[in-house]
């Protein structure tokens, strides 16, 4: 490779020196050669785009240290802490040629109103160039209630799409071939049921489960910690997740079973270090639950994925992602004994920070989102959602969401940034910050262990108190103008020109209520009862619940009917509040 020959020459010049240095030198040259070989056999992006910069110079694929500049210890440190892309500890990236091989997936979170409304928005986004689907469900769906429940009054279709049954799911994916898209679904307590719906829709399309690609959020621990969409108590919830991971490991090998999330922890007000530490701690807790079940780590770990926030402090975020990859790789290999590199590498989705957006002067949010998206790309994300400028006011309009998508496309095609892997690697500042984030996270891991682990720590309110304190501290900083938020505590404008926002008509709730009632009347209710009984038995006797969710879904048992069985069997979690 043109950009590597410079390094090769320098390395061979250095090789004539002392014996101990030669070991490190050989390790280094071997690593570099190994990486070069991997790059040769890595995928290439289709199309004609050049990787020369605007001066016509070929852009370096990877910046590497000049070995002559480093001592033996320095080179040792480089290999241990950073390594090469696509190789343990993956600090510099999980793929060997990163975005030259494949751009991150542009996956815009979308959902509102009726399934048809969201189906239209999905198709709009695909037409505008997004490369993966991401589904937002309404509060009733997230909380396991049908559209006609008393709890659903005023809530149907307001913050996401209303899905009460397989029939709604069929409407949602009408005209979208599930063997040709990958779909992320942001759903937690009822995650297994939504996956069952998805599998059933695919079945009707003639697509077998083993071809399905996508991700389920399915991360209940962060619900107790931050997003508060928990329903059942923690251990029963983790059991459902383990059932799903076990089932998917066998039947849906291309499906990411869980999206271990820091996004919501950050949105609730945590610091970046807390986001890093609490997310990874949750991940380790799930791994331990699966190992306790007797699952083979190298069978399920490759399909675990993560989900981080991209907040405003540019370099802090980049350091966070790099530290996360390194911590994950080390734990998976050293502590959990994973043998496969595919188990060690941490893949993640990123969303730009909703909590950083302002209702004042909303167009400024376009800029915030762009900078945050750039930090995620510099941090090596596999998938990215960019927020729309109007999201402090409502769900995004078509105009706003298009700008958000174009933001990603401009970064991808105009900035030149994707042509180089981990371009900030080796920066004194970024490497020191990466190390520091890792150290701080380790302190939290120790604390969590002292408390007995993640679930005991949740029960003691540890995470919740840390987050509430951080949120309060942040608010005081803003009020005291120690932290400037443009348009809010500085550069404030008195007049506001209202921007057009998305409104969800009341007809949505009326329509969805009618539909679910009609469905219940129309279907084979004896079959539904039988399927629900099967689910109840599995809930009680510990057999895997997934096949029962699928059977229930096929019979058109509603979301709430299935959830109510589990509410009866598992009970409902009661939080002790602290602020």
């Amino acid at each position: 490779m043109a950009d590597m020959s410079r390094h090769e020459g320098e390395v061979s010049r250095a090789q004539g020196t002392a014996a101990t240095e030669e070991d490190v030198w050989s390790r280094y040259t071997t690593s570099v050669s190994r990486w070069q070989q991997r790059v040769k056999t890595s995928p290439r992006r289709p199309g004609n785009e050049t990787t020369t910069n605007l001066s016509g110079l070929e852009t370096d694929l990877l910046g590497l240290p000049d070995p002559n500049d480093l001592s033996e210890q320095g080179l040792e440190r480089y290999l241990d802490q950073l390594g090469l892309p696509g190789e343990y500890p993956f600090t510099r990236g999980v793929q060997s040629n990163m975005y030259r091989g494949k751009l991150w997936t542009m996956r815009m979170f979308a959902g509102f109103g009726t399934p048809e409304d969201t189906n239209r928005r999905f198709k709009y986004l695909l037409e505008k160039g997004q490369t993966g689907l991401s589904t937002a469900f309404d509060m009733p769906t997230l909380m396991g209630y049908d559209s006609d429940s008393d709890w659903s009054l005023g809530e149907v279709g307001k913050c996401g799409v209303a899905i009460s049954s397989l029939e709604d799911m069929e409407r949602l994916f009408d005209g979208i071939p599930l063997d040709r898209v990958s779909t992320s679904m942001t759903i937690n307590s009822p995650a297994s049921i939504l996956l069952a719906f998805y599998i059933s829709v695919a079945e009707k399309q003639g697509v077998p489960s083993h071809k399905l690609r996508g991700t389920l959020q399915n991360d209940i621990l962060k619900e107790y910690i931050a997003q508060k969409e928990y329903i059942f108590p923690p251990r029963e919830s983790v059991r459902l997740i383990t059932d799903l991971i076990e089932y998917c490991t066998e039947h849906l090998p291309l499906w990411n079973t869980i999206s271990i999330s820091g996004y919501h922890i950050r949105e609730a007000g945590s610091t970046a270090v807390q986001e890093l530490a609490f997310t990874l701690a949750d991940g380790f807790a799930y791994i331990e639950a699966c190992l306790e079940r007797g699952l083979d780590i190298d069978a399920f770990a490759p399909r675990l994925s993560l989900f981080f926030n991209a907040h405003s402090n540019f370099f802090e975020e980049i350091a966070k992602y790099r530290a996360a990859r390194r911590i994950w790789a080390r734990r998976l290999r050293e502590r959990y004994g994973a043998k496969s590199p595919r188990s060690w590498l941490m893949k993640f989705h990123t969303q730009t920070a909703g909590c950083s957006l302002t209702a004042q002067q909303p167009e400024n949010n376009i800029v915030r989102t762009a900078l945050q998206a750039l930090s995620a790309v510099l941090g090596g994300t596999q998938s990215l959602h960019t927020n729309s400028m109007d999201e402090t006011l409502a769900l995004p309009t078509e105009k706003a969401v298009k700008i958000a998508l174009r933001t990603q496309q401009i970064i991808a095609h105009e900035s030149g940034v994707p042509h180089t892997i981990d371009p900030l690697g080796g920066s004194y500042f970024v490497e020191a910050l990466t190390d520091r984030m890792e150290e701080e996270a380790e302190k939290y891991f120790e604390k969590i262990e002292e408390l007995g682990g993640v679930i005991p720590a949740i029960e003691q309110g540890f995470f919740q108190k840390e987050i509430a304190a951080a949120a309060y501290r942040y608010q005081l900083e803003v009020e005291q103008k120690r932290r400037i938020v443009v348009g809010v505590n500085e550069y404030v404008e008195e007049e506001t020109e209202p921007i057009e926002i998305l409104k969800i008509p009341e007809e949505v709730e009326i329509k969805q209520r009618e539909r679910i009632r009609a469905l219940r009347a129309r279907r084979d209710n004896a079959a539904v009862r039988k399927a629900l009984d099967g689910l109840r038995r599995a809930a009680r006797d510990g057999t895997n619940t997934m096949p029962h969710f699928i059977e229930c879904s096929r019979c058109y048992a509603t979301l709430q009917e299935q959830m109510d069985v589990l509410r009866e069997e598992f009970g409902e979690y009661r939080e002790t509040y602290a602020f």
Binding site: M139, L142, W151, C159, A359, A471, Y472, I504
Partner: protein
Amino acid sequence: MASSSQPERKIRVLLAKPGLDGHDRGIKVVAATLRDAGMEVIYAGLRQTPKMIVNAAIQEDVDAIGLSVLSGAHMVLFTETLKLMKEMGCEHILLFGGGIIPDEDVEKLKAAGVGELFLPGTPSEAYVRYIEEEVAKRRRDAHP
């Protein structure tokens, strides 16, 4: 006003999240702020029905109820709470709130009897002062 030998009763505020919305960052910051401003705060938490909220307000003998709704269900939830407050004879209690509420809905709710609704970016002194002034006014009106 009460005579100067009687200490002014601390303002008691019930804070709650009605409906299904679980986003509690804002309401917890408000709770801590009001507590630090010398008020007594009862945080009822998440998934409260309007009925649970009004019952708690009466039981706790509060001066004000603050509701946080970010889910878009604010019209139904605030309206129902107001209705119950009328039915259960606690219209003397100030009902205020915050969240993601479009301007036109803020107008509608205020016209129906809801107090101020504080939207994203509001500095804390705005709502602290509002509650202090409104509660003082209501106490004066109750004991002229």
